[in-house]
Symmetry: C2
Subunit: 398 residues, 2 copies
Amino acid sequence: MPGPLSGIKVLDFTWALAGPYGVMILADMGAEVWKIETAGQNETRRGQGPYVHGVSTYFFSVNRGKKSIMLDLKAPEAKEVIYSLVRDVDVLTENFSPGTMAKLGFDYETLRQINPALVYASTSGFGHSGPYRSRGAVDAIVQGMGGVMSMTGHDGGPPARAGYSIGDMAGGMYTAIGVLSALVERSKSGLGQHVDVAMLDCQVALMENAIVRYTSTGEVPGPVGLRHPLATPHQALPAKDGWVVLANVKDHNWAMFCALIGCDELVTDERFATNAGRTKNYPELEPILFNAFRQKTQAEWQEQLSDFCLIGPLNTVDKVVADPQVNARGMLVDLPTWTGASLKVSGTPVKLSRTPGGPQGGAPRPGQHTAEILGRAGLDADGVAALIAKGVAADAPQ
Amino acid sequence: MPGPLSGIKVLDFTWALAGPYGVMILADMGAEVWKIETAGQNETRRGQGPYVHGVSTYFFSVNRGKKSIMLDLKAPEAKEVIYSLVRDVDVLTENFSPGTMAKLGFDYETLRQINPALVYASTSGFGHSGPYRSRGAVDAIVQGMGGVMSMTGHDGGPPARAGYSIGDMAGGMYTAIGVLSALVERSKSGLGQHVDVAMLDCQVALMENAIVRYTSTGEVPGPVGLRHPLATPHQALPAKDGWVVLANVKDHNWAMFCALIGCDELVTDERFATNAGRTKNYPELEPILFNAFRQKTQAEWQEQLSDFCLIGPLNTVDKVVADPQVNARGMLVDLPTWTGASLKVSGTPVKLSRTPGGPQGGAPRPGQHTAEILGRAGLDADGVAALIAKGVAADAPQ
């Protein structure tokens, strides 16, 4: 379905995860994305497994709905192609190390001369300024340096990574926010600008609560474990067949809650009568709660407790995919691969009433749209054939 | 500094974290935000500590740069005020349980009649459709149901929450993306629309890699611990004074790496010569690496290894705040409280070259801008005084 960015064209130099995830958001919203890959070598993540139907599932998921052109970016003829395309697009995205685009002749200062309305987005580990600007980063590095790993895991144990690559994906989300903000501004001024998003900065933005707390009180938070530091019970608890998460057990519901979990003796225990007391005396409460919750299944607890608190299962991914709400919201989408089979990917969480968007198609073969995009750069069929013959461009293998 | 959304006005009904975090992004980008709070009772998070300088730091951080009006939304006169303001704004944001805005007379179908160009954003736990639409959620519930908790923590141990409230904040980020996408579209069509963002959907969008892997191969990932499942070493390692995270140790650098960590005997050990071998034989490698890394400090490892791999410290929040790059990027901003003292909060990670934006000021007192915003609704001084006398509106205490 057409999305809100229908008509917006993106020239996309991104690779790996942070950049492609952000550009995927723009593609889901209906932008036409021309993903540039280097002729003669695959985008790194095309090489990352698991492979299914001859396709890297890693690559397929975040590059759905994009078009692919293969170019040797160091060839002089490729530079002319890029300059032509830059005249025609609204947005350029890249996540090379700072300095790489300048070496290729594609830095913002050069390209704004060609197209002053261009919104040019750079995503990198540490940004295009500051003492670390030339250092590389990956997800684990910024999860470590940004602080989230120090707050993830259990007291006394080793730190842990957040279970998905939020270091990369937060960089992608904030890149999309930067591009979209610049497009809103451009609709009034007619001018583009440079968007410089650092993965580390995005982690700092997500650490906002820990930062204001530390800078105002000196408190350095440790790992959050599986429970809320100020509310009890507000945590994961072990059921017979897995874990459940519950929250918002109000003091006025505590007696009913105790009865429902088969712990009548807790009702009159003054240590646990208030949230403050339950939190203070949690070490004594935990074994009682754990033992009580192990007596019934996730579904039984859901049924019995949902009128008195917030509750849900702690799902593994198979349970997420089977969840009725996830399916009702269209959050799982079948997309065709170029071998004919289809793969199931996550949908867009941005549900718009009039221009809904969503994944626009499968991920492209390398070079699947080389001829089409070279045509947008003004080349005719002979010109396309000449560039391919020279090795400047490459087509998808037939 | 003026941001790209300068001139965009937001009528903001959000509270707690998910909604306010998304609206904070719009405010940082320069939008004028009129935050509505209920007369006679504070926004929930104004009550959440720690309090410093008479201010809830939790509230202050995510509500910086917004204006505050206090209204009794159930009073008929308040409804007229809201309808007047709706004519004047570009965006409306709310994160009540689905159905609450309709009960107040402020649902999208009603308000679009008043202002067809209105972009109306709803953020909720499960969204405005599907079988769970009337259920509430908080961060821990969607971290559990969405799957990230099942992938966070260590093999054989209990699950863990990601260390910050990514369930809420991802909802906020995707709400900002939805609003901005709708504004881009509106610049062409002149029409608004409803943006419906569910926190659970956002978790599914962040689980994209696990989802495509599971649905195509049947593989259900367990907790990621502190290392990459396919690359070794790509993980946190204990140094003398804390942990370091490293990644991208290439096979051709392995011998040099072994020498630098004082493990010459590993160079010729064929079990560890390749990444595949190191990953397969990780249980035997881990104690050797842990022991080697404990001999030197984070800074020493940074100095010695940074030419041969990616490396950074695993920072607690005090170290994040002291980091030279974080400071050079303007990611810590002092903002005034209404008591005169200032608080330090995280800055914006969206760095724009021409219209930079950033936090626009401290968080407001409750009702600090009641008279000003009622003026925007067409009331003169007598009209404002009459609403305050009736208890329909409230001013900040003097």
